[in-house]
């Protein structure tokens, strides 16, 4: 029974094949556009429609009782939110908006983006990576907060005064009167003051300074640095008395509990580290060289709090202040790279082939595979194939999304190096933030943190 090659395949005519191709390409695009971690069954459509109808009914007002389940907004219809007694949560799919009591805002989706227009109150947003999608913008009066990163709050008070933006994770852009400012994790921005450095302290005994983890109260403090209405060199620290900010309702997971350091290039010499204790109001005076600060607690007892640049390695000095990007790129390039695995091949192509042989070897899963992937990326970078190197790194992070091997940190830095030597842009800053977050305390992390603070 020899049948191979004896059943002729009837070809499909080109027109049929073209139609199939068109449907497949279109379907693949749709699939990638709606790619979500959970598949929604067809039966869910009716439920979704019902939910959308319910949301439309909420346009005239949104009154929540004792913290019910989040309202889900998936429609493109504008939704007006008005919270009265309790904090409330609004899930719009690609972001979650928590609002304080007496907050009023309208959510619309212009051109695929999200616009949150505040009338008054305070919102806290957690936003997923937006990738190529149009940005999420929070508009409070004449101030636009454009989301680049992930977690922040916008406080518009009674809707007539100042706006305050606090970023706990990622980066946002604040645009007001045609001026754009970047506010990164650990920073705040206020209408009258501009960008503020913010620090946290966990105190167990009332004294300031980083205490044992999990003990004491988390307090958020703000420190003006380089603001327009503050004298050069002077620093003011205000520990918030707002229960939402100063209590358990406002957790700051900043730099893994280390003291924050926010250099401000606009005020020479004003590099201030601030640690605030639990209390009401505190003020600081810069120490010599502007590297120290002290806090005064509300009960009148003073406590030394300034740690200056000793809390972590200071960023390297900027050689040419007029061209910070060039110097920063140079700084990025000067950081050592973890070398590629030596497979005894002189040419990049041969070496990459050897690395892929390792990857395909079922006996060499895990650590060897991780090393091989990283080595491919390094080799591609050395061969000036930066696009391929980035693709390889993305594949590495996907492949080892659950397993952590020693190459993860070098791979994160390699991504920073490739992206940030090209351009110090949002993508570079996000990569730098990721690196600084995962590999704190290293010289490269200090460079990465500097990148996140660039405008």
């Amino acid at each position: 029974m020899k049948l191979v090659g004896r059943v002729p395949v009837e070809p499909l005519d080109e027109e049929r094949m073209t139609q199939i191709e068109r449907r497949v390409v279109s379907g693949a695009a749709d699939a990638s556009a709606v790619a979500q971690p959970m598949r929604v069954s067809r039966g869910f459509t009716g439920v979704a429609l019902a939910a959308m109808t319910a949301v439309a009914a909420a346009v005239i007002g949104w009154k929540l009782g004792s913290r019910p389940a989040p309202v889900v907004v998936g429609a493109s219809t504008p939704v007006r939110i008005h919270t009265e007694a309790q904090r409330s949560t609004l899930d719009i799919g690609d972001a979650t908006i928590e609002s304080d009591p007496a907050t009023v805002f309208v959510v619309t989706r212009p051109a695929g983006g999200v616009l949150v227009e505040m009338t008054r109150g305070k919102v806290e947003l957690e936003v997923g990576k937006r990738g190529d999608r149009a940005p999420l913008v929070v508009r409070a009066g004449d101030t636009d907060v454009i989301v680049v990163g992930t977690h922040f709050t916008v406080d518009y008070g009674d809707g007539t005064g100042d706006v305050e933006v606090r970023v706990t994770e990622g980066v946002v852009k604040v645009v007001r009167t045609q001026h754009e400012v970047r506010v990164a994790a650990g920073q705040a921005w206020q209408t009258r003051r501009g960008v503020l450095a913010r620090a946290e302290a966990r105190t167990a005994d009332g004294l300031s300074g980083p205490g044992p983890s999990g003990s004491g109260t988390t307090t958020t403090a703000t420190s003006t640095t380089g603001v327009t209405d503050t004298a050069e060199g002077s620093t003011q620290v205000v520990a918030s008395t707002d229960p939402v900010r100063a209590g358990s309702g406002f957790e700051v997971d900043l730099l893994h509990g280390r003291t924050s350091l926010v250099p401000d290039k606009r005020v020479a010499g004003n590099t201030t580290t601030v640690v605030a204790s639990t209390g009401t109001t505190a003020t600081t005076q810069p120490g010599t060289g502007g590297s120290g600060a002290s806090t005064t607690r509300g009960d009148g007892t003073g406590a030394a709090a300034g740690t200056g640049s000793g809390a972590r390695p200071a960023p390297r000095p900027v050689e040419d202040p007029s061209d910070p990007m060039r110097d920063l790129k140079k700084l990025v390039r000067s950081q050592p790279l973890e070398p590629a695995l030596d497979v005894g091949e002189s040419s990049a192509a041969s070496a990459i082939s050897a690395y892929y042989t390792i990857i395909r070897d079922p006996e060499k899963r895990g650590a060897d595979e991780s090393r091989a992937y990283y080595s491919i990326a390094v080799t591609q970078l050395k061969a000036e194939r930066t696009g391929d190197a980035l693709s390889t790194l993305e594949r590495y992070f996907r492949r080892f999304s659950r397993e952590v091997y020693p190459e993860r940190t070098p791979a994160l830095w390699l991504r920073v190096r490739i992206l940030c030597t090209r351009s110090i842009d949002d993508v570079c800053r996000q990569a730098a933030y990721k690196y600084a977050h995962e590999a704190p305390g290293t010289p490269a992390a200090a460079v990465a943190e500097r990148i996140t603070l660039t405008d």
């Binding site: 191979v4 059943v7 693949a28 082939s353 993305e394 594949r395």
Partner: protein
Amino acid sequence: MTAAAYVEDVLLVDRCLTGEPAATRELFRRHRSRVHACLFRVLGTNRDMDDLLQEAFLQVFQSLRGWRAEASLATWVDRVSVRVAYRYLSQRGRRVQTEVLVDDEAGPAIEAGPGARRQLARDGVKRLYAVLDELSPAARLAFTLHEIDGRTLAETAQLVGSSVTATKLRVWRARKKIETAAAADPVLSEFLEPSGAAVIPFDDSSKEAP
């Protein structure tokens, strides 16, 4: 598969994952002929082929993120396609209409010569697939992939997600069933053994990879 081709696959998949339509089109064009041939040999007809091809490739693109580059992309695409074929066969209650294999316009084989032999071959194929219609989807897949599509038992087992032993058993049972049918059908018998060759025993490992 060469390392270069492998790298090419990896880069193409990366481009597809970014949603680049040109990459999607390229991947489809690279694999469409092979997938179509494979599905045709399993089913014996182009009926519903448009839907099957579309379904197979849509599943490929939907689960592309899950390709871990352990197997070649072609093998992985084939595996997805075989799953689609299996589901189709299961839903159709094992029966696949194979009438389209007969070229009605050609008319019956009344003349002698090459035309008659072609008609005999067409009839033989039609009768073969009529017997295959009686097999379970798993047995049909194992038999067609191994005996008609020419894949090794190991490869076939990998595609259908079974052990080599189970696959070999399914192929053997399918052969026995076809031989039984051929014993009562001279057209099928002539198609299967035109030279009167002996029946290949179950323990045939001639197609195994070295």
